[in-house]
């Protein structure tokens, strides 16, 4: 446990002494900030959009969190590529492998370190809609559900990125693969929104339903709409744990 924390602290320290981490924070803050300001401006110019069901929380908060997911799509690959792919390239992974730490502790440490960084990013994004509480009543339940969703998406992206990073020794390759995989998850969701039910052997296959059930974004969407169900929570938990476990297995294969 203490080893995991040591590795996490080390990862965080390395992130924060590198310009990459600060630049990523700045860029994502700039992008989400602009979107936040734009949706506020839009709302103040067209107040009629606030209806019986969609309030400020849903329009501004929901929109912001959706956009934050897109930003994460770009940020997470750049973070995870450094972890195993780059360490393998520089040979620094030998340090971790020869240390009296289990591979699980190593992978968890890296994950916790990255999540520490992403949580800071998360907090900076969360402050924006929450700051509206000074001006207007907010639906805190809806925002909380959306924020939990955003954090879970971060964890899932991060786990997937770590796994893809452990597959290769080229950081750029890891980044591209992660970006591609995350984009695919996105596309998967698009399938679920299509009304497409191909008929095979006389049976209509519920492809849309299946895609929705499997798609990461689909589960996030439910949380953004304020529907907090344990099924969505479990989906993210299983997704994250699966890829972390696969990372451990992949690193162990390295030794063989």
């Amino acid at each position: 446990m203490s080893l995991t924390l040591s590795i996490a602290r080390h990862e965080l320290r390395r992130l924060f002494v590198s310009p990459l981490a600060w630049t990523l924070l700045a860029v994502s803050q700039l992008l989400t900030g602009i979107l936040f300001a734009m949706s506020l401006t839009d709302l103040s110019l067209n107040p009629q959009r606030i209806g019986a069901y969609d309030g400020v929380s849903a329009i501004v908060g929901g929109g912001l969190f959706r956009f934050a997911t897109v930003v994460l799509l770009l940020v997470v690959p750049l973070l995870t590529m450094r972890v195993f792919a780059e360490e393998r390239k520089t040979g620094n992974i030998e340090l971790l492998l020869s240390a009296p730490a289990s591979l699980t502790a190593v992978v968890l440490g890296k994950f916790v370190g990255l999540m520490g960084y992403l949580t800071l990013l998360f907090a900076l994004i969360a402050i924006m809609p929450l700051s509206l509480a000074f001006a207007t009543p907010l639906d805190m339940g809806l925002l909380a559900s959306g924020l939990i969703g955003l954090w879970l998406v971060m964890a899932a992206f991060c786990a997937l990125g770590l796994f893809l990073s452990s597959l290769t020794r080229e950081p750029t390759l890891a980044a591209v693969a992660t970006l591609g995989a995350l984009m695919l998850l996105w596309l998967f969701y698009a399938v679920s929104t299509m009304d497409w039910q191909p008929v095979v052997l006389g049976t209509a296959l519920p492809l849309g339903e299946a895609a929705r059930a499997l798609s990461l974004i689909g589960h996030h969407d439910a949380l953004l709409r304020g529907v907090f169900s344990s099924a969505d929570l479990l989906y993210f938990l299983i997704f994250t744990l699966c890829f972390l476990a696969l990372t451990v297995v992949r690193l162990d294969m390295d030794r063989h």
């Binding site: 203490s2 590198s18 620094n92 030998e94 340090l95 020869s98 240390a99």
Partner: protein, 314 residues
Amino acid sequence: MESDLKLSAQGLVRDYAGRRAVNDIDIRLAGGEVLGLLGPNGAGKTTTLRMLAGTLAPSAGRILLAGHDMARAPRQAKRHLGYLPERPPVYDELTVDEYLAFCARLRGVERAKRGAAIERAKADCGLEDTGKRLIGNLSKGYQQRVGIAQAIVHRPDVLILDEPTAGLDPNQLRGIRELVGRLAESHSVIVSSHILSEIQAVAHRVMILHRGRVVLDEALADADAGNGVIDIGLRAGPDRATLAALAGVDAVEDLGDGRWRITATPGRDIRGSLAETAVHNGWHLVELTAHTPDLESRFADLTRSEHDTVAETS
């Protein structure tokens, strides 16, 4: 005896995709011993050391480190191990102090002892003045020292150094050699190199690897004493039979012009008695040269002959 061994490996085998990189290697390392692992590039040195360090699983064979099995209890075994890989595993963006603090935590040095352990490792490696500097800004030699400091910060029983002197200038080279010598006082050390003189300078025992096999494993003192060859010049010399009859002489070769090459019986130093006999008999001694023990030519023979046969067959 078994319990005195800090490290013992039996029957180590490692295959890479059908190619056998290491074939049936046994290594035994006693406390306070320095073992030099020597071999041409690609002989399997790094593979062997990585297996000993637990970063590579052997295809067959067993490794015991301070009594712990590397396969069954890797965490206990690795506690007794310090490892410097071929490339020092340092993070350019950290300072020396930050880096060593992380390594100490990683190696399980208790919080209370951590500061002292880091100071000691730095003092041992001559890094006292570089604690606040970024590793990326240090020279190659100093980065290498940081790599060694990382390996000794937790005072392991066994220290594995993979080519610690590669790519250093002569001054840095001497510094690292002295450092390894000092470390040998309190650790068992395995050093690898493809340069014989590096091994001769620091090791007590040498193990020559070639194409994944051990082709020589003996104490350096023995290797030095063996096969004493003496060139002697006698202006009024006797004939071959007289020389060959002298005590301790194995073989005599006539080099012409009154010079002889005498091979001594292994394990005996006959230079003194030879000179005395020559003076006593009035042979007019003009030259007496002992050849330096020729580990180098043996190294060349052991590692070349097989290479050539392979080159012919392939």
